[in-house]
């Protein structure tokens, strides 16, 4: 039973890994399209981790780009000094940990706030982080850091993206994960049922920050150039759009939306004059026709198994 539940995910991950590897080996995926794939991978990590905070735990955060920038800068500073694979891995780990720590520090006071108030507070936090990087000497101010060593290839990208997905999925299928979801559902009831809501809000928030830090470190180690402006308010909104479009409370929704939006925006790059207009019009259309997001709060696996059981039932009825 347990094994069968994990099988679809394992197959999907394996097929994805082999497919991209084969496409790259045969030269169908060139450097330009690989950059698109890297962006998709990073966006998947960003969107699923924000979904943990906003979609599953119900804490509206507008500061995800801030955590991403902490990961990006920490990793950049480490790989500048130590441009080796161990240095890169250390950079990812340190970047993620630093982001998670800031997540705890920011989360403890701000997570008392709800809804719009929390959104404003997290927005302010991300701006503070950006301004700090803008003014620090070590981060080279507005010009940012460039000519950083590049480490991310398909293997690393796959490892971190798939790892994030598996860990988040595991967490949400555990007792602490369910406690986080209960906070979204009804905070007062959750607290009365023995759930320390503050603890789980801060847990979800800093875990989300951790993975955003991973995404930032991967960004640094592929695009080898970072500056504070990359991690502004617009970046946070971009991530939020993926989450809302895919469905609040659906990891697979975030993955599908991250892939879809990046493919569409890559395709639209051929029409630069109308690109943003078409993109925005499409977002409006999706929200009008599917306000709950592509997948709502269900996962692909649940949708498929529901369809299958329906087909099974119909087949049985026809036999009778």
């Amino acid at each position: 039973m347990k094994k069968r539940k994990n099988l679809p995910l394992i197959i999907t991950l394996a097929v994805t890994y082999v497919a991209v590897w084969a496409l790259q080996a045969t030269g169908i995926v060139n450097d330009y399209s690989f950059a698109v794939i890297v962006t998709i991978g990073i966006n998947i990590i960003l969107a699923t981790s924000l979904n943990l905070v906003t979609g599953f735990t119900g804490q509206f955060s507008l500061g995800h780009a801030g955590f991403m920038s902490i990961g990006a800068y920490t990793c950049a500073l480490i790989t500048q000094k130590n441009p080796t694979i161990p240095g890169f891995l250390l950079g990812v780990a340190a970047g993620a940990t630093a982001a998670a720590l800031v997540g705890v520090l920011v989360g403890l006071p701000t997570l008392r706030l709800r809804g719009d108030y929390l959104a404003i507070a997290t927005l302010g936090m991300a701006e503070i982080i950006r301004v700090v990087f803008l003014n620090l000497e070590i981060t080279n101010g507005a010009a940012g850091l460039s000519f950083l060593p590049q480490f991310v290839n398909w293997n690393w990208l796959f490892l971190f993206t798939a790892g994030t997905l598996v860990l988040l999925r595991n967490f949400l299928n555990s007792s602490p994960g369910r406690a986080c979801i209960s906070v979204r559902e009804d905070e007062i009831a959750a607290e009365s049922m023995g759930v320390n809501t503050t603890k789980y809000k801060v847990t979800a928030f800093s875990m989300g920050a951790f993975f955003a830090g991973v995404a930032g470190a991967l960004y640094t180690s592929y695009f080898f150039f970072i500056k504070p402006d990359l991690f502004n308010f617009n970046k946070s909104i971009d991530i939020l759009v993926i989450v809302v479009l895919g469905g609040m409370g659906s990891l697979s929704g975030s993955v599908i939306a991250a892939v879809l939006l990046q493919l569409i925006s890559t395709w639209l790059a051929a029409f630069p004059e109308v690109r943003m207009v078409l993109y925005a019009a499409m977002l409006v259309a999706i929200m009008l026709f599917r306000p709950q997001g592509l997948l709502g709060s269900t996962e692909v696996s649940a949708v498929i198994s529901r369809r299958l059981s329906k087909i099974g039932r119909r087949a049985k009825e026809e036999e009778v």
């Binding site: 595991n170 967490f171 007792s175 602490p176 875990m207």
Partner: protein
């Protein structure tokens, strides 16, 4: 031996005294009613007992047989850990989660594996999750909700939602259960069924129960003692028989009802 002892409980909101000098004692295993007109402060008393509000004055002590514990100043989740569970007047289920998950979340405090165990599904994760699932399923089948276990809470009928709220409270493994208007919105047949349901869970789980209720048929049938609250103070306490004939109660609240009670 009293399991719950409330002395001089007072709560003021600005200039308004919602609860004033309330004394309550619940013996272990008792089923006690808390009645009173709308706005008398009944739900405020529940919120004070469960830590949603902190009392302005007064003491609340719980004694499960191994020493008295003060509940004043404790957070709701800690009071839950001490063994006090509640339901809500306006149902507060985890609506977009399944019946099973509603119950499993309430069992959360007994899970020993932590966040790392949850992330990596290692350590005692498998064993504990299996035990949790079995415990939740057996509780649901005891309470007649087993068939609904994969249903979303929001899709249950009103009566079933009331039952699930009680099931979820029981899942926290309480010694004292506080029921806030469990029969609200039910018809007489459903109320009669709920009455026997409450009697059954009290027996099966060895509970002490304090319940707020407007439905006099339910209160008078199953409560051994009743406290009557009016304008935040206890105006009478006693057996259902005594309450029925108490002049102050009739004046404050039961006057019209007594003719057909």
């Amino acid at each position: 031996m009293p399991i719950l002892n409330v002395e001089n409980l007072t709560k003021t909101f600005g200039g308004l005294t919602a609860v004033s000098g309330v004394n309550l004692t619940l013996e272990s295993g008792e089923l006690v009613g808390l009645i009173g007109p709308n706005g008398a402060g009944k739900t405020t008393v529940f919120n004070l007992l469960t830590g949603v509000y902190h009392p302005t004055r007064g003491s609340v002590t719980l004694d499960r047989g191994h020493g008295a514990v003060s509940l004043v100043g404790k957070k709701p989740y800690n009071i839950c850990k001490e063994g006090v569970a509640r339901t809500f007047q306006n149902i507060r289920l985890f609506r977009s989660l399944t019946v099973l998950d509603n119950v499993r979340i309430a069992m959360h405090q007994n899970v020993r594996y932590g966040i790392a165990g949850g992330l990596f599904h290692m350590g005692s994760y498998k064993k504990e999750e299996q035990a949790l699932l079995e415990k939740a399923q057996s509780l649901l089948s005891m309470l007649g909700l087993a068939e609904k276990s994969d249903e979303l809470a929001a899709n249950l009928s009103y009566g079933e939602q009331r039952h699930l709220e009680i099931a979820r409270a029981l899942a926290t493994d309480p010694a004292l259960l506080l029921l806030d208007e469990p029969a609200a919105g039910m018809n007489p047949a459903e109320t009669a069924q709920l009455t026997s349901f409450i009697a059954q869970i009290r027996r099966d789980f060895g509970l002490t129960i304090l319940l707020i209720e407007h439905d006099m048929s339910l209160v008078m049938t199953i409560c051994e003692r009743i406290y009557v609250l009016d304008y935040g103070t206890v105006i009478a306490a006693g057996t259902p028989g005594e309450i029925k004939t108490d002049k102050r109660v009739i004046e404050a609240y039961l006057g019209e009802d007594m003719g057909n009670a």
